[in-house]
Symmetry: C2
Subunit: 457 residues, 2 copies
């Protein structure tokens, strides 16, 4: 049998496994908070998340305390009683707090240097009866706790490894693994190395992992991981195809040439305006940045709208004949940017338009009547269709971005609202501002995770 952890993993574990004193500190605070909930008499306290499963990375200061209320309360009652209890507990522990909102509202409090979430939920009998997504969390904790007790180091390694390759985080911007997903992988594959081996050799688009063999729904996602506590839920729903592929590549690279480098995240360096100008000069491309105020809505709502907007704008550009090299978007604290690197910035005056098939006599007649005498060429016939060549509506990318067609091309709702108020279109190095410097650096240094490691060495 091969050694469970190699020299690099052993060394990494020393750094990321919490010390006994670190454990004692957080667990004792968790106990006190749970007791405080229980003492209220109206809810039951429960530690959830990575602290409950002993899978957190040393130095993390996040603590999740769930407050389980009777399912007989109305949502309004749950909200009112839940927040009121959370506030009184936060106050009792001397913590500053702020109300936040996922599906229910919850309280985020700073207590003894920890970042504590106090989350009210329903204490439902089984996972199939949950009333909101947060009700599911206690089931995850109960399911996982016993099953990974002897594999917490494997989970920690997998989390650290995923972080290093940029695949950790189930938020929409990352599109990677949730902590719970990492735990399921370790349960399923038995070890950190087993999970990497599977990813390196067997993973492919459409793979299904079903720990409890109880799948009750099909998913069209790159990877399907059926929630062991809910046969109709894909835990990997927010994983993108790109992140999944990057993880496989990284796993393959590590198994071939393991090193500590694979546990260290390389973040892109911010690019300066002069560097950006030099890169564009070298590449010869035309950069356009559409910039507008960041809507005051949580990132997990805005980021998918930015992505959808990118795709809509790309389709608009291509419909009008402009060639794109690459595009991306970024949500800053103050402003968002949707970035297009173009191969063409302008096109000739003439534009070919496709008409109806010759066999459709009424459409053909309308098409001829509409264009007769007003074209640069045509109407003419090629194969079985009519064509005309007319004066191009948008001869430059800029004229398209400044048009009504741009506003109406299918931007996400909040993106459109913000754009309608005000937006700027910047070109070349003028797209640069401090807020976007790291994003632009990443855009122009585009490398796969393994390549970043290889180029470092």
């Amino acid at each position: 049998m091969t050694q469970r952890f190699n020299e690099y993993e052993t060394e990494v574990l020393k750094a990321i496994r919490p010390s006994e004193s670190e454990k004692a500190e957080i667990l004792s605070l968790a106990d006190e908070l749970v007791s405080a909930v229980n003492e209220s008499g109206i809810a039951k306290g429960m530690v959830t998340g990575s602290v409950a499963r002993d899978t957190w990375i040393s130095g993390d200061r996040d603590l999740d305390i769930f407050m389980l209320f009777s399912p007989e309360l109305t949502p309004e009652e749950l909200e009112e009683k839940g927040l009121s209890l959370a506030k009184s507990i936060a106050a009792a522990f001397g913590g500053d707090y702020v109300e936040k909102y996922a599906q229910h509202p919850y309280l985020n409090a700073a207590i003894r240097g920890f970042d504590v979430d106090l989350v009210p939920c329903y204490a439902v009998e089984d996972a199939s009866k949950i009333k909101s997504a947060v009700d599911r969390t206690p089931f995850h904790t109960r399911y996982m706790r016993g099953r990974i007790a002897d594999k917490t180091d494997d989970v920690r390694l997998l989390k650290m490894f995923s972080k290093a390759c940029g695949v950790y985080g189930s938020d929409q911007m990352t599109g990677g693994f949730a902590g719970y997903l990492c735990e399921i992988f370790i349960c399923y594959y038995g070890s950190f190395r087993g999970c990497l081996k599977a990813a390196a050799e067997d993973w492919h688009t459409g793979l299904v992992i079903d720990l409890e063999k109880h799948q009750a729904k099909e998913f069209d996602d790159p990877l399907t991981v059926i929630d062991p506590t809910d046969p109709r839920r894909n835990v990997a729903a927010s994983l993108t195809q790109t992140r999944m592929s990057e993880f496989c590549e990284f796993a393959r690279g590590y198994l071939k040439n393991p090193s500590k480098e694979f546990f260290v995240r390389k973040t892109a360096l911010p690019i300066t305006k002069d560097e950006l100008a030099a890169r564009l000069n070298e590449r010869g491309t035309f950069l356009y940045g559409i910039v507008f105020k960041t809507p005051g809505i949580i990132p997990d709502v805005i980021v998918p709208q930015l992505k959808r907007s990118e795709v809509s704008i790309a389709a608009l550009l291509e419909r009008h004949g402009f060639c794109i090299n690459r595009f991306d978007s970024y949500m800053g604290d103050d402003n968002c940017i949707i970035l297009f690197e173009m191969l063409t910035e302008s096109l000739p005056a003439v534009e070919k338009r496709i008409g109806p098939p010759v066999w459709e006599s009424e459409n053909s007649e309308r098409f001829i009547a509409k264009h007769l005498g007003k074209t640069m060429s045509g109407p003419y016939i090629r194969d079985s269709r009519y064509y005309v060549e007319v004066k191009r509506r948008y001869p430059t990318v800029m004229s398209l971005f400044k048009s009504r067609d741009f506003i109406e091309c299918g931007l996400g709702k909040h993106v459109k609202n913000s754009v309608v108020k005000e937006y700027g279109v910047f070109t070349g190095a003028e797209c640069h501002r401090d807020e976007f410097a790291a994003f632009l650096g990443e855009f122009f240094e585009e490398k796969s995770p393994l390549v970043k490691i290889l180029e470092r060495n």
Copy 2:
């Protein structure tokens, strides 16, 4: 019942129906030539073509005399005896002559102001036993003669109408109707107007017309017209989709608003160099003409090779990221030109290349090793594939046209042979020369047949 011919048709027929004296002149020459063949004792003479069927247009001076030899001769004997008999007849009638070649050699002679083809062939028993394509011609004449005797005016109108819309001629450059095909249409639809009505209302890609209901082979052509004398032959094989569509359009236009205009061919005016420069300036496009010596081979061999070369070059341009508006080619007496009207003449230095899927580990490793440290961006992963962005190989259309990749892109055999010897790439108005002036005029005045009529009025 509607009148057989309307006022326009009646007027056109007056002009295109040969007079009695014209008929007498050509038929008497035909008789004399047939007698001369018969008198040789080694072959039987036969008038074929439109003169035999009384379907020629007044003013046409073409006469086809077939000389039917015993099928027991070898091809060499047929050639020797056939040409020798043809030469002695041409000499006896005082005609200059020249040897030509279709599948067999034949003699083309100028006799009493007529353009006479003297064609040796085998007198086979039935059409299924033909030894070469020319043996089929006597069967066409025998089949058609009695069947269209009372519809020769309909055939003449259809030929004239097809000529006017540019659809008459089964040569490769035209890709239109043969005279025999026009006769089959009249047989099948019963009249000129019946044929137009069918084309206007019912014709579509994939239509099959089978007069004898004996089709014995499937064809992948736009229109299939089974030869009544050969169940395995498509008489419309050389008809292009574009010509077929144009005929339908023209038929529709005529049935809606009949006029004499529909029987008058509008040929494109030659364009001058200054006019060409002005058109290009207005259109804003980039014109490239690849010019080389016309190979000394018959047009029906060269023209398809030019068409194939166009498509190969277009694919090459698109593979390298250049956008085409339109292309065409022309075979002049001295030079050929392959013409590309481009929307882009140059592209940025950076070029994106697609790599293998991430799941293919060996290919992925090779791809990374090949590009590591040598790219402008990447290798990076998008969805499930690798990409790199490298320095573009062909940053201009001109650099591509001057490359080895151009020569090797899949030009037709004789085209390539000529190009390899010498070719020039001209841009903009420099593509102009007198030999190409009419072709360039047509290229830039591109209109469907009906639109040409409509714009005239």
